[in-house]
Amino acid sequence: MSKKQWFFAIFVVLAGMVIVFAPLPVHATAPTQRTFRVEASQYTYSPAILKVNPGDIISIELISTDVVHGLYVDEYGISVTADPGQTARLTFTADKPGSFRFRCNVTCGALHPFMIGKLQVGPNTWLWRASGLTVLAALAILILRPSPPKAQVT
């Protein structure tokens, strides 16, 4: 490996560490009030993915369309139960960033344990970091691959 290639290899390692550990610029979005209308039926939520910004005040209106369902948000530890015909409301502040499961906490039939959704608080930084790493890896492979033997001059 040439000296140049050594430098490049070190550069790749450093760049990778930056991509993984650098704090992303947090565009400070002012917290807003967001209302989601979530329909629950055996055994899904619709929508099943809720995206919010940290600090937002979230209001989930849970509407059951068949049997009694619940909605429990992991880590936040809060829940509501909705009977069909009676819209239930869950209001809270999304003060923990990250990605959280929410799940049905009322036994609602055979596949009840699989009734889950996702609450995404803040940007999904791992998506960006992962794509950054992929690009870097591609570059590294291109540049660091062993150079083909030089043409023989006779």
Binding site: V68, D83, P84, G85, T87, C108, G109
Partner: protein, 318 residues
């Protein structure tokens, strides 16, 4: 000598008999009145058992559990609070009856479009007098009303009638309009036609007259009754008739598919203003006979049905 021997033999025999009989007696005392009840969605068979026997004055112990989803348990026309019945758990309740008769127990947590069909009966025997509600025929029968004929209002207001506006002119209103019997047996549209031709009210405009109609309805209701009516509606009716009474509840399409009829839309003035309180109560008590509208007679007390009727009119009056 011989006598005492016989006596001791007798004592031993009796003693043995008692010892042998004891477990049987104890068991019958213990379990006689414990009934295990399983809840299932109406499609899979409903309550098991569907009929329970009881006696006045003797407590009935029930052990309730569910075989599928969350259900609830309550007894119609009684004050016992509803309890939840959960799969994998046992809910124990003790109930007692002081009047004989046939009681209906029913599911209180919505478990599908056929949830309201989840009902069972408790047959209570005893020597006391049955309750008056069980004996007296409902008002629509006494009035000889045919609750199945269409009842389109012959007049409807241009704007939502306002009871406060009516109250301004209430001094002009002859007392006979405020009698409960008059209110119960007339639809708002009929009352409007009556006040329209009443010489005592000849100076009033159409919206003032409709205001008087709303005022008459308000005079026959109490705030507590409306609150109770609203609570009962949210729990028992909104899944079909919609939370705002528009007939668009979460099950409205299912009900139409099952029974060929959509739940009534209470925000339609032509329909609701053509129905009097006795007619609406009749429909609630008896149900729609195969249309998907449940019969609530065995579930609610008379007062509760009137509270529901008063609440239904709030979809038309303010």
């Amino acid at each position: 000598m011989k006598n005492s021997e016989q006596l001791s033999r007798l004592l031993i025999t009796v003693g043995l008999l008692i010892v042998i009989a004891l477990p049987f007696v104890a068991r019958s005392v213990d379990t006689q009145d414990i009934v295990e009840v399983h809840a299932r969605m109406a499609e899979s068979g409903g309550w098991m058992p569907g009929t329970i026997q009881a006696q006045t004055g003797i407590p009935l112990y029930l052990r309730l559990t569910s075989d599928d989803v969350m259900h609830g348990f309550a007894i119609g026309q009684s004050d016992n609070p509803a309890v939840d019945v959960l799969p994998g758990k046992i809910t124990e309740v003790t109930v007692a009856f002081d009047k004989p008769g046939t009681y209906t127990y029913y599911c209180t947590r919505w478990c599908g479009p056929n949830h309201w069909r989840m009902r069972g009966t408790i047959e209570v025997t005893g020597n006391e007098m049955p309750s008056s509600q069980a004996i007296n025929p409902p008002l629509y029968i006494k009035l000889n009303l045919d609750i199945d004929t269409p009842h389109l209002a012959s007049a409807t207001p241009a704007v939502i009638p306002d009871a406060q506006r009516g109250a301004i002119f209430s001094a002009l209103l002859p007392d006979s309009y405020l009698l409960p019997d008059y209110y119960l047996s007339h639809s708002p549209a009929q009352v409007y036609l009556d006040v329209q031709v009443d010489p005592a009210l000849a100076t009033l405009s159409n919206s003032d007259l409709w205001g008087l109609v709303a005022y008459i309805w308000q005079s026959n209701t109490t705030p507590e009754g409306l609150t109770e009516g609203q609570r009962l509606f949210a729990q028992n009716c909104a899944a079909c008739h919609g939370e705002t009474g528009n007939g668009d509840g979460v099950f409205s399409a299912d009900i139409n598919a099952l029974a060929g009829k959509y739940p009534a839309n209470f925000s339609d003035p032509a329909s609701l203003l053509g129905a009097g309180p006795a007619l609406l109560q009749g429909k609630i008590l008896r149900g729609g006979m195969g249309t998907g509208m449940p019969s609530w007679g065995p579930i609610f007390t008379n007062q509760q049905t009137w509270d529901l009727v008063s609440y239904l009119y709030t979809f038309q009056f303010k």
